[in-house]
C-alpha cells in the first residue's frame, strides 16, 4: 500500500507522531514510488514557500519608496526649519529708521561754512581727548599705582 497525500502532508509539515513518522519514513525508503512522490511534494512545498517569500520581499521593496519619500519630506522640513531659524536669528534687531528730512536738501543748503566745520571737528577732538581726564588718575589711583609691587 502506498502512502496517501494526507500522510505525506503530515510528514512534510511535522504533524505526524514519532511512531507514524518512523513507519512512513521506512515505507518511503522501501517504496520507489512513494520516495518519488515524497521528493516531488517536498519540492512543491519548497517552491510554494519560495514564491510567497519572493512575494513578501516584493512587498518590502514596494514599501521602500514610501519610506524614502518620508525621509525626503523630513529632509525638506528640516531644511525649511533651518532657513526659518536662520532668518529669525539674522533679522535686524534695531528698527529701520526712516529719513524725516531730505538728505539732498541738507547738501543743497548747508548751514555752516567749511571753517566752522573744521572748528567743530577740532572741538569734538579736544573734548574726546579731555573726556578721559581724571579717570583712574585720582589721588587714590596714584596711591594704588605707587603701592603696586
Amino acid at each position: 500500500m502506498h502512502l496517501e497525500l494526507e500522510q505525506f502532508n503530515r510528514l512534510l509539515e511535522d504533524r505526524a507522531t514519532t511512531a507514524e513518522c518512523a513507519a512512513w519514513t521506512d515505507h518511503i525508503l522501501d517504496c520507489k514510488a512513494c520516495a518519488q512522490r515524497y521528493k516531488f511534494l517536498a519540492a512543491f512545498q519548497a517552491s510554494w514557500q519560495a514564491a510567497f517569500a519572493a512575494e513578501a520581499q516584493d512587498q518590502v521593496i514596494e514599501m521602500k519608496p514610501s519610506a524614502s519619500r518620508l525621509r525626503r519630506v523630513g529632509t525638506w522640513l528640516a531644511a525649511a526649519a533651518a532657513i526659518v531659524v536662520f532668518a529669525v536669528a539674522t533679522w535686524p534687531s534695531q528698527p529701520s529708521t526712516t529719513e524725516t528730512t531730505d538728505v539732498a536738501q541738507h547738501l543743497a543748503a548747508p548751514d555752516f561754512q567749511t571753517g566752522q566745520v573744521l572748528a567743530m571737528v577740532a572741538d569734538i577732538n579736544f573734548k574726546s581727548a579731555v573726556q578721559a581726564w581724571g579717570q583712574e588718575t585720582t589721588a587714590l589711583d596714584l596711591v594704588q599705582i605707587k603701592n603696586k609691587p
Binding site: 497525500l5 502532508n9 513518522c21 519514513t25 521506512d26 518511503i28 525508503l29 522501501d30 520507489k32 520516495a35 512522490r37 515524497y38 521528493k39 516531488f40 511534494l41 517536498a42 519540492a43 512543491f44 517552491s47 510554494w48 514564491a51 510567497f52
Partner: protein, 165 residues
C-alpha cells in the same frame, strides 16, 4: 464573491501554472492548463458554497493545487501502466531478465551490508539508494544536511573497505 474569485485568479494563476509546470519533474506540462482549470473550478465551487469557508486563500489554493496535481499524476501513472501492460519484444525481455538477476544479486549483497550498519546510518544509505540528495535526506530523517553528508561519506568509505562499490 465574483470579485474575490477574480482577485484570486489574477493574483495566483501565474504561480499555480508555474508550479504545475514544474511539478513531478515537468510530467504535468502537457496537462498543466487542464489541471489549473480544475483547480480554479474547485475553488469557485467552494466560494459559491460558502465564501467564509476559505479563511486563508493562500493555504487553500496550495492544498487544492496539490490535490489536483496529485490526482493528475495518478491518472498519468495509470495511463502509463496500461501502455506498459501491452505485449513487448520477447528478446528484450530475456535481456531484462538477465539484468534483473544480476541486479538482484547485487541488491542482496548491498542489503546484507546495510543490515550490518546502525539504524540511522542504514536509513541514510537507503535514502541515498532511493536517489535522495543530502537536503532531501536531511529533511526526511530530521537531521542537518552536514550530518548527512559526513555520515554518508564515512559509510561509503566503510562499505568500500568492506568490499562494496
Amino acid at each position: 464573491m465574483t470579485d474575490n474569485f477574480e482577485a484570486l485568479v489574477a493574483q495566483y494563476h501565474r504561480l499555480v501554472m508555474s508550479l504545475l509546470y514544474r511539478y513531478y519533474g515537468g510530467r504535468l506540462q502537457q496537462d498543466a492548463e487542464d489541471v489549473a482549470q480544475e483547480v480554479w473550478v474547485k475553488i469557485w465551487r467552494q466560494l459559491k458554497k460558502n465564501e467564509s469557508n476559505i479563511v486563508d486563500p493562500k493555504s487553500y489554493i496550495y492544498r487544492t493545487v496539490q490535490s489536483c496535481a496529485w490526482d493528475a499524476v495518478h491518472r498519468l501513472n495509470q495511463r502509463a501502466d496500461v501502455t506498459a501492460a501491452l505485449p513487448s519484444d520477447p528478446s528484450a525481455e530475456a535481456t531484462e531478465q538477465v539484468d534483473s538477476r544480476d541486479q538482484r544479486d547485487r541488491r542482496l549483497a548491498m542489503d546484507q551490508m546495510i543490515a550490518s550498519l546502525p539504524a540511522d546510518e542504514a536509513r541514510m544509505v537507503r535514502a541515498y539508494l532511493q536517489g535522495f540528495n543530502y537536503a532531501e535526506t536531511a529533511r526526511l530523517l530530521g537531521c542537518s544536511e552536514g550530518r548527512v553528508r559526513n555520515l554518508l561519506t564515512r559509510i561509503k568509505k566503510k562499505l568500500v573497505i568492506e568490499g562494496g562499490n
